[in-house]
């Protein structure tokens, strides 16, 4: 979906069944989730720049309606897996800011005990399977989660996210073939922010129509979605999820979105491959939070004051998470050697036979 398409009049999805059933409280909660993601990341950026974190920081700012809208549809047997731009999905599945922030600070209290970092958040208890650093590498894993659901006879699906830069990886194409061949309940959600790092979609992908249309080659359903409209994200994703749950048929959804920052904070060219006008247009006209906030005020279920209060509380929560992370203990050298093998961690009889480690 091009900028021109986004700027043209859009359909209204507020009336779709899956949105009609939303209570005012639930709608406000969805807005709150998006705002929490943004405030969390703004705080992360501040302290990343202050030297509190190591490695990469891939910000999700601008894309919040994608994770929030799609994950809001998940039930107890629906699972989520994504790539390295994973903070939004983590908060959307219900991970708390403290453990996520502490992970980026490399602290023991982090969701992965400081062993994964920004790109590797996990919460299996919330059906969240990462957080994966290699472009496209998570796409067969998402397939496997769907395989497991079907094998175990559970009515659920897997939402497997990838960026537009991942669609040319071989593992993704292998996954599409297997998904359709084996009738697996997986939905590949292409979060299309227009750029694979610094290379635009036109310069990186050969396609007819749109990226999702590649699904036709695998006899798979597909759709395109405006990722700045939370109602549209929910309405269209719901259809794909029901198809997966009830018919075990996979889909590709291409959700147009935009990241306000670079590929990562270390992206030195973030303002060179995109024009300032382009970035400004998205911020002014397509910001998912601004649009949904306006919408709820129009619907008469939210006031400006309430919205500001939500924003203020989210900022305070994020600041508190930074303080929690800062004050948490760092891992110790013995911590380096745990969580390598299940058997050694659990001190099973098998773990006592032979040497598993070779430090000395």
């Amino acid at each position: 979906m091009s900028t021109a398409q986004l700027d043209s009049p859009r359909l209204d999805f507020a009336g779709s069944a899956v949105n009609r059933e939303l209570t005012p409280e639930r709608k406000i909660d969805l807005l709150r989730q998006m705002i929490r993601i943004r405030r969390f990341e703004q705080a992360a950026l501040k302290y990343y720049n202050a030297g509190k974190m190591n490695g990469f920081l891939h910000l999700y700012i601008g894309q919040e309606a994608v994770a929030t809208g799609t994950i809001s549809l998940c039930g107890e047997n629906d699972h989520v897996i994504t790539a390295y731009r994973d903070h939004g999905h983590a908060l959307a599945v219900g991970m708390d800011m403290n453990s996520c922030m502490a992970e980026m600070y490399g602290k023991q209290t982090g969701c992965s005990k400081g062993k994964g970092g920004s790109m590797h958040f996990f919460a299996p208890d919330k059906n969240y399977w990462g957080g994966h650093g290699i472009v496209g590498g998570q796409t067969p894993l998402g397939l496997g989660l769907a395989y497991g659901l079907k094998y175990l006879g559970r009515e659920g699906c897997c939402l497997c996210y990838l960026g537009d830069g991942a669609v040319n990886q071989g593992a993704f194409h292998e996954s599409l073939n297997l998904a359709a061949l084996f009738d697996l309940p997986v939905i590949y959600v292409i979060e299309n922010n227009g750029y694979s790092m610094g290379t635009s979609q036109k310069r990186s992908s050969a396609y007819r129509g749109c990226l999702a249309q590649r699904a036709e080659a695998y006899d798979m359903e597909w759709d395109v979605i405006d990722g700045s409209d939370l109602y549209e994200v929910r309405a269209k994703t719901h259809i794909a999820m029901e198809r997966a749950r009830k018919e075990h048929r996979p889909s590709i959804l291409e959700i147009s979105t935009y990241r306000y920052y670079g590929h990562s904070v270390a992206d030195a060219n973030a303002k060179k491959y995109r024009s300032p006008e382009e970035i400004e247009n998205y911020k002014q006209n397509h910001d998912p939070i601004t649009l949904f906030r306006k919408r709820l005020i129009q619907e008469g279920i939210l006031t400006d004051e309430q919205a500001d209060q939500i924003s203020k509380e989210a900022a305070e929560e994020a600041t508190a998470a930074c303080r929690f992370a800062d004050e948490s203990p760092a891992p110790t050298i013995p911590d380096i050697m745990t969580d390598v093998y299940w058997e050694t961690d659990n001190q099973t009889p098998a773990s006592r036979i032979g040497h598993h480690f070779f430090n000395d």
């Binding site: 994964g116 996990f122 894993l141 989660l145 036979i353 040497h355």
Partner: protein
């Protein structure tokens, strides 16, 4: 009750028993079901267990191996066949990033109880791309476990241990061993499981230790007979069986006993399994050595095709005998 099975039959029996024991065990791979297995290891299992438990996959290693890893995170226990371990290269990201690292990167929240199995050997005239021997390569990744059975009994016992293990285990078999015959305990005598990490002294000797794994064990045993008969040298043969975890105690015990050692390893010399074993010996048993550690590895070039000399590139009994005779 004594009975003999081929290595192939022993593997199949082990797979069959684990399929019966645990309903979450699933065999997957190219031609494993309806074709009965490219090397007939899985012959008859599809007929017995059906489509749900024995799954033919397309030629799509990154796809189906990643799929198995993902399914294992939900508690499925996929046993995946690589028609050749040489095909690991097209699924390397899945094998080393996802299978080996996901537990660590999640701070121990996830484990991947998968088994990858298939032949990993040279010597069959299929050229360099099909003759890789990657046990040392994968053992170098913490989070992975690797074993390489040499006999039918060990093949059955190790595949069963691998399936029951809650970490990813990569089982390296050998096409040239599939047809070999050996005694395997009868199921009526109890569950035959060979734990990972336990080496096996295949021959007792006093003058020199030959330490090997996989088919090299068979060569070492043949060489030991020649050394005894023609040179009066008593060689001990230690079969590592498992590469990681590794039975370091057994390695050091045999070196301390014989004081001389030749490592036999179908890997290439640079960074192979024997390179690691040599390091362990010099670090922990240096004072017991009466001679430098020597190695017989595959000659250090890509695998040659020509059947006239292919077997000479690999470890073989005569190369082992020659190497032993160089030790004073």
């Amino acid at each position: 009750m004594s009975r003999t099975l081929t290595y192939r039959e022993a593997l199949r029996e082990g797979l069959d028993e684990e399929l019966a024991r645990d309903p979450n065990v699933v065999l997957m791979g190219e031609e494993v079901a309806q074709y009965n297995g490219a090397y007939k290891v899985t012959e008859g299992l599809w007929k017995k267990w059906g489509d749900k438990r024995i799954v033919d996959t397309p030629i799509s290693e990154a796809g189906f191996i990643g799929m198995g890893i993902g399914a294992s995170m939900l508690g499925i226990r996929p046993v995946m066949e690589l028609m050749f371990w040489s095909f690991h290269s097209v699924a390397f990201d899945q094998l080393v990033n996802n299978a080996a690292c996901v537990r660590y990167m999640s701070g121990g929240l996830i484990n991947c109880p998968i088994v990858m199995r298939g032949p990993a050997n040279g010597g069959t005239g299929v050229g360099a791309t099909h003759s890789h021997i990657p046990e040392g390569l994968f053992a170098a990744f913490p989070g992975l476990k690797v074993c390489a059975p040499a006999t039918p009994a060990d093949a059955k016992g190790l595949i069963k241990a691998a399936i029951r293990d809650n970490d990813p285990v990569y089982v390296m078999e050998n096409t040239l061993l599939y047809g070999t015959v050996g005694e395997v305990p009868d199921p009526s005598e109890g569950d035959h499981v060979v734990p990972l990490g336990l080496a096996d002294l295949k021959r007792v000797g006093s003058d020199i230790s030959l330490i090997a794994h996989g088919r090299s064990v068979i060569h070492a045993l043949a060489a030991a007979e020649t050394l005894q008969a023609e040179h009066g040298i008593s060689a001990e043969v230690l079969d590592l069986r498992s590469i990681r975890p590794l039975d370091v105690d057994a390695i050091l015990a045999t070196v301390r006993k014989t004081n001389r050692v030749v490592l036999v390893d179908e890997s290439k010399p640079f960074g192979g399994v024997s390179a690691m074993v040599a390091t362990l010996i010099q670090e922990h048993a240096f004072d017991y050595l009466d001679a430098p550690i020597k190695r017989v590895c595959t000659l250090d070039a890509p695998a040659i095709y020509s059947h006239h000399i292919e077997h000479l590139q690999l470890p073989n009994p005569s190369r082992i005998v020659e190497k032993v005779l160089t030790i004073k």
